[in-house]
């Protein structure tokens, strides 16, 4: 293994000496990120933008790509909104993150009161059990997750995996409901990465979700829900 690695790296190093690369490359002993600090300043500056403006931007952009955004004025309304979404689908079973990660106090109690069964999908460590466990949650009508952040300029949800926060909840069911806590809105992807890039190393899977699953492979005709959720609902929680 290390022999192959060394051999490949040596060949690349030798090639670099003969490479004709765009002018000015060799002067960049520093990574370009250092030389373009000014552009970053502008990105970061946006981080101080008003949360209300950010919420409006996020709502507008997510709606533009076919998602739904809700901005309840009080915490009690969250259950009403979720109930309406699930009832419209005739849902009886959902895959949900652990309650502490949803940012919606009393979530499980509220869902229980609606007669919704909560499925947890832990695929376990026994490889024989993996496929049956996956199949057992496949029929869930919706997935309910929290979000690590939301990005205003693209209408993007940042969903990070971890204990109690499975990947399947936002992936397998045809409907994804994401609860977005206040003060997690960022103006853009660069602003988020600058402030919270550490999340990429601390979580094995971080996915930026921008609207419902889509394809235009056939005759450029847009069609939703080809593999991932067909509906994405983001609920922006009010400030406590």
């Amino acid at each position: 293994m290390t022999v192959q690695r060394d051999r490949m790296l040596e060949r690349i190093a030798a090639a670099i000496k003969k490479a004709r690369l765009p002018e000015g490359t060799s002067e960049h002993a520093q990574p370009p990120s250092v030389t373009t600090a000014r552009a970053n300043e502008e990105d970061r500056h946006g981080a101080h933008a008003d949360q209300r403006d950010l919420a409006e931007g996020f709502a507008r952009e997510l709606a533009a790509v076919g998602g739904h955004v809700y901005r309840p004025a009080a915490m009690e309304e969250v259950a009403v909104i979720v109930g309406r979404i699930l009832r419209a689908k005739g849902a009886t079973r959902v895959i949900a993150w652990d309650e502490e990660w949803l940012g919606w106090p009393g979530a499980y109690r509220s869902l229980g009161a609606m007669g919704i069964e909560i499925a947890h999908c832990d695929v376990g460590s026994d490889s024989q059990q993996r496929k049956p466990k996956l199949k057992s949650v496949e029929s869930a009508a919706a997935g309910i997750t929290g979000a690590a952040a939301a990005l205003a300029d693209s209408g993007t949800l940042v969903i990070a995996s971890g204990p109690g926060r499975g990947r399947l909840a936002s992936l397998l069911p045809p409907v994804h409901v994401a609860i977005v806590a206040p003060r997690t809105l960022y103006p853009s992807l660069p602003a988020f990465l600058a402030a919270h890039g550490d999340i990429v190393e601390s979580c094995s899977n971080v996915v930026l979700v921008t609207g419902p699953s889509r394809t235009a492979d056939i005759e450029m005709t847009l069609s939703l829900g080809v593999h991932g959720p067909k509906e994405v609902h983001a609920i922006l929680l009010p400030d406590a």
Partner: protein, 470 residues
């Protein structure tokens, strides 16, 4: 050149006669190119960002060994297993061996250009592993034993009716399953969902690999990339060695350009950052992550005049804007990577002798260079390859003879003037309404698809002299 022309010419002529294909290409390339323009017009500091992206890519290539080693170390420290593959065979053999060791019988795949390049599916099938492509377009390609004709939209050449007939014949779809595009989409979802749930291996490519964190970044719109890298217990990612970017911040720059250039979206629907396999306490995710770093001719490109092409981020913008691609489509190139990018990348990795005609499949208009998010000077690279082809003795006889004749005349002013005069006289004599429908002998190739203009009565030098006179 003989009348039958080169194989590229034969394939293009076939494509040009296919009016349905041309309508489909017009629609797709037109819409994708317009989407790209709209996205960039609406973007503040787009040019600054493109310059920055170009610097990031060039800088990374100038220290590719360092960044690759850093990426591999970081990925391994997060629990991934990194394999180094110099050749296509190294890569496919490793994957096949892994499949055998794990007793795998089936694999789901999300779209990966590298896997097409190394022809992974054939090797896995030979090892007894059933491989299912899961990108809708790639799935259609696989079911019909076809090849993709566009980097982003693999079945740009197929109509909805084609797909409906195919799914009815090969997959037993009912009429209502293929009544319209949403029905086909829903049918495919049901069918492929079962494949995801029972697959032993998930195989993906990577759009980027981040050196500082050891993450691979995978971009899809359908969500098949996420299912492929989540459901099966084993995830194998094939990554071209040039996909690496130094930092997350650099990744942010590239991501802002990739989707806008490809489809006009601000971001694709799903951008996954995968850092190692499932961790302790996590409820799901793959138990094992293997990352195969594939060279397969890339280091040969790096060590030469074409190095810049490795900056490519596979957005497909150069295809959509290319007047040649727009008319003939991807199959005419007979190359895994079609269009302007492929006309450089394929001869670059496989040698100009394998496809001497590809660098000529261009008008050198420069639209690709203008559209490229990292401003790769594709026309320069195409000219370089044409030169390489000539030096390797691959230029056709008529071209060599023609250039020799021109050289003879151009270095003797009296001969040049005399032949120019003769050509002016002859073309004006033969022309009707200023155009010649047919040129004689070896020049007839030019007039096969277009007329040749008669030369002006007076040369530029003569006109200029006449104007100078008081």
């Amino acid at each position: 050149m003989s009348d039958s022309g080169t194989s590229f010419q034969r394939r293009s002529e076939e494509a040009l006669r296919d009016t349905r294909l041309r309508a489909a290409l017009r629609l797709a390339t037109g819409r994708l190119a317009a989407g790209r323009l709209r996205a960039f017009e609406a973007m503040p500091r787009a040019d600054t960002l493109r310059d920055r992206a170009r610097r990031i890519r060039a800088h990374t290539l100038s220290r590719l060994d360092t960044y690759l080693a850093r990426f591999a170390d970081a990925a391994e420290s997060q629990g991934a297993i990194v394999h180094w593959a110099s050749t296509a065979a190294d890569a496919t053999e490793y994957v096949a061996q892994l499949a055998r060791e794990r007793g795998a019988r089936s694999a789901v795949k999300s779209k990966s250009m590298v896997s097409e390049e190394v022809e992974l599916n054939a090797v896995l099938e030979a090892a007894g592993v059933r491989v299912v492509e899961t990108d809708l377009g790639e799935y259609v390609v696989q079911v019909s034993a076809d090849t993709p004709s566009h980097i982003i939209v693999p079945i740009v050449h197929r109509s909805r009716e084609d797909v409906a007939v195919l799914f009815r014949d090969k997959l037993g779809a009912l009429d209502e399953d293929v009544a319209d595009v949403p029905a086909i989409t829903a049918f495919t979802r049901r069918l492929l969902r079962q494949e995801f749930l029972q697959a032993d291996i998930g195989i993906s490519g990577a759009n980027f690999a981040v050196a500082e964190t050891g993450s691979i970044c995978l971009v899809t719109n359908e969500g098949n990339g996420r299912l492929t890298t989540t459901c099966p217990r084993l995830h194998i990612a094939l990554v071209g060695i040039e996909r690496v970017v130094p930092t997350l911040e650099d990744l942010g720059v590239m991501l802002q350009l990739l989707a806008r250039s490809a489809t006009g979206q601000k971001l694709s629907v799903y951008t996954s950052l995968i850092t190692g396999p499932r961790r302790a306490g996590e409820p799901d995710g793959p138990e094992e992550l293997h990352i195969v770093l594939v060279d397969n001719g890339r280091s040969s490109i790096l060590g030469g005049e074409l190095a810049e092409i490795l900056a490519c981020i596979r957005c497909g913008a150069c295809l959509n804007i290319c007047p040649v691609y727009q008319h003939v489509g991807g199959h005419a190139y007979a190359s895994v990577y079609p269009g302007p990018i492929g006309s450089v990348f394929t001869p670059g990795t496989r040698g100009i002798a394998t496809c001497p005609e590809l660098p000529h499949a261009s008008t050198l208009c420069g639209a690709c260079r203008d559209a490229c998010p990292v401003r790769i000077d594709i026309p320069r690279l195409l000219l370089q390859l044409r030169q390489d082809g000539r030096k390797a003795g691959l230029a056709p006889v008529w071209l060599r003879a023609g250039v020799a004749l021109y050289g003879l005349a151009a270095s003797r002013p009296w001969l040049y003037r005399a032949s120019a005069r003769a050509a002016r006289f002859a073309t004006r004599l033969a022309a009707s309404d200023g155009w010649l429908p047919r040129l004689p002998g070896p020049l007839s190739g030019w007039t096969r698809h277009r007329d040749f203009p008669a030369l002006a009565a007076r040369s530029f030098v003569e006109t200029r002299r006449a104007r100078r006179r008081p």
